[in-house]
């Protein structure tokens, strides 16, 4: 009951269930696929480390999805609680202690996440198994001794649930800030969060990004010599610099978003939208970085394979048939890889839509004030859409830039020695696809909340609790 009072309606936790479910389904399907590949390679008599490699690859992809899910859940919980600080303060006034309220939030969120992930994993495994059975039946896959339920499914579900619990712990920090006195005071404008020291974060981020960039540069140079070391170095460099970007995101992303939103105009709806986009730097960073990770992954693979294909095009000593075959293999692998990483983008997108909607609901009263002061319904819609544009455009552009760089560097490290100069490629159709997805996301994230916002009469909105 406490969790219901702090977190409110089930709809507000719906995102957690959906995200955990998606993550679970992804893990389930990926593990089934990896088992199929492993059994096949075993049957083919490969004694090599294919199984191990597949396991590692699947784990990395699942880990990325879990990470993105955790970021989304932190944001979801944080947003819900930000909108309920008054009610939490009232509970504190009536005698609840902050620790137990926070515990209730964590338990509630974890329960929902556990239910979501269980459903997701079962669905994922079921779909994976059915696909396999159909493929075997159609002779597209050899018959074999495939496990129905992959061994790692259980641990994967547990990992997702633990990540959700941790995320809700991080996201519920604000519960501790609500003081009982706030329930009594008439101050309805929340006092600003005290700035936290960020010099350690700045140094750590700069160090990681710098080191990662150096390693990536070295990897690109190694690529010219044709050792396998180059690609491993590129992977390590990408991981180190990527971690650095995640650590430092909070310092950079709000500024990028502020800069983007300045391009949207300077009339009142744009001004208020721009301020709202960076109102809470933490939340801004999280909802943007989820998308950045997704877009970066998709673009990295798309750009990497585009670079490989354009490089392969110029390789000597291949017959026309061989060249066509190589291109075909690269194209298919590219598609498969992009399908594998696109799930993280979907999870981030779900989180983005949810954060935008909740943010607008919590601003009901503020929107009522704006309407009373003379914002037309259209201006309120514009304001919400522009806020969504500022955040998602920043994420898409930032993610694309990162992905193009990572993809090209990875390809250069892998096959630099086969081509003169730097290997790079621009996956045109994919970039257009990502941009279109970005536009759709903006519409999805702003249409529903803005319709709801303008449907409420200013009188009712001004009376809203908050």
């Amino acid at each position: 009951m406490k969790s219901a009072l702090v977190l409110g309606a089930r709809r507000e936790l719906g995102t957690v269930a959906v995200v955990a479910g998606l993550c679970g389904a992804y893990a389930g399907a990926l593990l089934v696929a990896s088992d199929v590949l492993k059994v096949n390679s075993d049957q083919a008599g490969d004694i090599s480390a294919v199984g191990v490699v597949l396991g590692v690859v699947a784990s990395v992809f699942i880990a990325v999805a879990v990470y993105v899910s955790a970021v989304v859940i932190v944001n979801g919980v944080d947003t819900v609680i930000a909108g309920r600080l008054r009610q939490i303060a009232l509970l504190r006034l009536l005698g609840a202690d902050a620790g137990s309220l926070r515990g209730a939030v964590v338990r509630g969120t974890t329960g929902v996440a556990a239910a979501g992930v269980t459903g997701g994993v079962l669905t994922g495994v079921l779909v994976g198994d059915l696909t396999r059975v159909v493929l075997v039946h159609a002779d597209r896959l050899p018959d074999g001794d495939y496990p129905v339920i992959p061994v790692l499914v259980g641990p994967a579900a547990v990992v997702v649930t633990i990540a959700a619990a941790g995320a809700s712990w991080v996201g519920s920090r604000a519960v501790l800030r609500a003081t009982p006195a706030e329930a009594l005071s008439g101050a309805s404008v929340p006092s600003p969060e005290p700035p936290r020291s960020s010099s350690l974060r700045r140094r750590l981020a700069a160090g990681l990004v710098g080191t990662g960039a150096l390693v990536l540069g070295g990897a690109a140079a190694l690529g010219e010599s044709g050792t396998a070391l180059g690609f491993l170095a590129a992977a390590a460099g990408a991981m180190v610099s990527g971690t650095g970007l995640l650590v430092g995101a909070r310092l950079v992303v709000p500024r990028l978003v502020a800069w983007t939103s300045r391009l949207l105009g300077s009339d009142p709806p744009s001004t208020v939208a721009a301020r709202n986009a960076v109102r809470d730097p933490g939340r801004t960073t999280r909802s943007t970085m989820g998308l950045v990770i997704g877009v970066t992954l998709v673009t990295t693979f798309a750009a990497g394979f585009a670079a490989l294909r354009s490089s392969a095009d110029s390789w000597d000593g291949m017959t026309a048939g061989q060249a066509a075959q190589t291109d075909d293999i690269l194209r298919h692998t590219s598609t498969v890889m992009i399908c594998l990483v696109v799930v993280s983008s979907v999870i981030a997108a779900v989180g983005f839509v949810s954060t935008m909607s909740l943010g607008v609901i919590h601003r009901t009263r503020e929107i009522g004030l704006l309407r009373a002061l003379g914002f037309t319904a259209g201006q309120v819609r514009t304001m919400i859409t522009k806020e969504s544009v500022a955040l998602s455009a920043t994420a898409v552009v930032f993610g694309m830039a990162l992905g193009l760089a990572y993809g090209a560097l990875g390809a250069q490290a892998l096959v630099g020695f086969r081509t003169d100069g730097f290997v790079w490629g621009v996956p045109g159709p994919m970039l257009v696809g990502v941009a279109v997805a970005g536009v759709l996301l903006v519409l999805a994230a702003s249409w529903v909340p803005s319709s709801r916002a303008v449907a409420v009469s200013p009188v009712v909105a001004l009376r809203a609790d908050g």
Partner: protein, 259 residues
């Protein structure tokens, strides 16, 4: 929605805000609430009018209808020569933007805008550049209201009284036809209350600003030049300036009369 469409206001040119047989009903059937039940009243240009009444008397509905924030169920409302009851949401919004200044009980300011931006919001919304004279007026208001060293602050960094003064500055800045104040002192301590009421009276007397204030506080209403009393959605009193004691007695007599 209303008969007599297109007929100009029956009231004289000096009537800034006029209600004619206004009814506002919430809900329907036996549970319907008549928040306003046949209210006819005219507020002329200039002056400070207080609208009094116990809780549930229809004060807030009066103000929402006067501001075009709420539709009427029947009757006519004219604001600054325009028939509010015939305008759609957009036209009412624009009229509000141009002719009405607001001071609410709480949550008056846009939290993401600083003090100066909040004060200038009406100009921004009307996409109007400030003339030199308007700029001087805004500077004067900010100075008089003691906000000069706060212009760059966000509302969250101000006390309740300061926030209310910013709201008053915003309401007066664009020189609207009318300033509507809804329980403007409801959340303030005694000293800040007196200050805010004094400011409103000064605005009415010295700047000729028309002000309509809704309140249930006899002390607040005693600052006004005219006191309207609502009870159960009807206008039951229309008085010149009164002392707090007189107003309190008047209110008590209505409460007892109803009992």
């Amino acid at each position: 929605m209303c008969a007599g469409a297109g007929v100009p206001s029956v009231e004289g040119m000096d009537s800034l805000l006029s209600f004619h047989a206004v009814r506002k009903v919430y809900g329907d059937g036996p549970g319907a609430v008549r928040a306003l039940d046949g209210v006819t009243v005219t507020v002329p240009r200039g002056g400070f009018t207080a609208v009094m009444g116990p809780s549930g008397s229809g004060k807030s509905t009066f103000m929402n209808v006067a501001a075009g924030l709420d539709d009427v169920s029947a009757g006519e409302v004219h604001l600054a020569g325009r028939p509010l009851h015939q305008l759609d949401d957009r036209a009412r919004t624009v009229l509000r933007r141009e002719q009405v200044g607001f001071v609410f009980q709480s949550f008056n300011l846009v939290p993401t805008l600083d003090v100066l931006e909040n004060v200038l919001l009406p100009f921004e919304l009307a996409a109007r550049r400030l003339s030199t004279e308007e700029r001087a007026w805004v500077d004067h208001l900010i100075e008089v209201l003691g906000l000069a060293d706060r212009v760059g602050h966000r509302p969250g960094e101000l006390s309740g009284g300061q926030q209310q003064r910013v709201a008053i500055a915003r309401a007066l800045a664009a020189r609207p036809a009318v300033v509507l104040a809804d329980e403007p002192t409801g959340n303030l301590d005694t000293r800040s209350s007196r200050e805010v009421l004094g400011l409103l009276r000064t605005a009415a007397r010295e700047y000729g600003q028309t002000i309509v204030m809704v309140s249930h506080d006899p002390v607040a209403a005693s600052y006004a030049d005219r006191v309207l009393v609502l009870a159960d959605g009807r206008l039951v009193g229309d008085h010149d300036a009164m002392t707090p004691q007189q107003i309190a007695e008047l209110l008590i007599s209505f409460e007892e009369g109803a009992a």
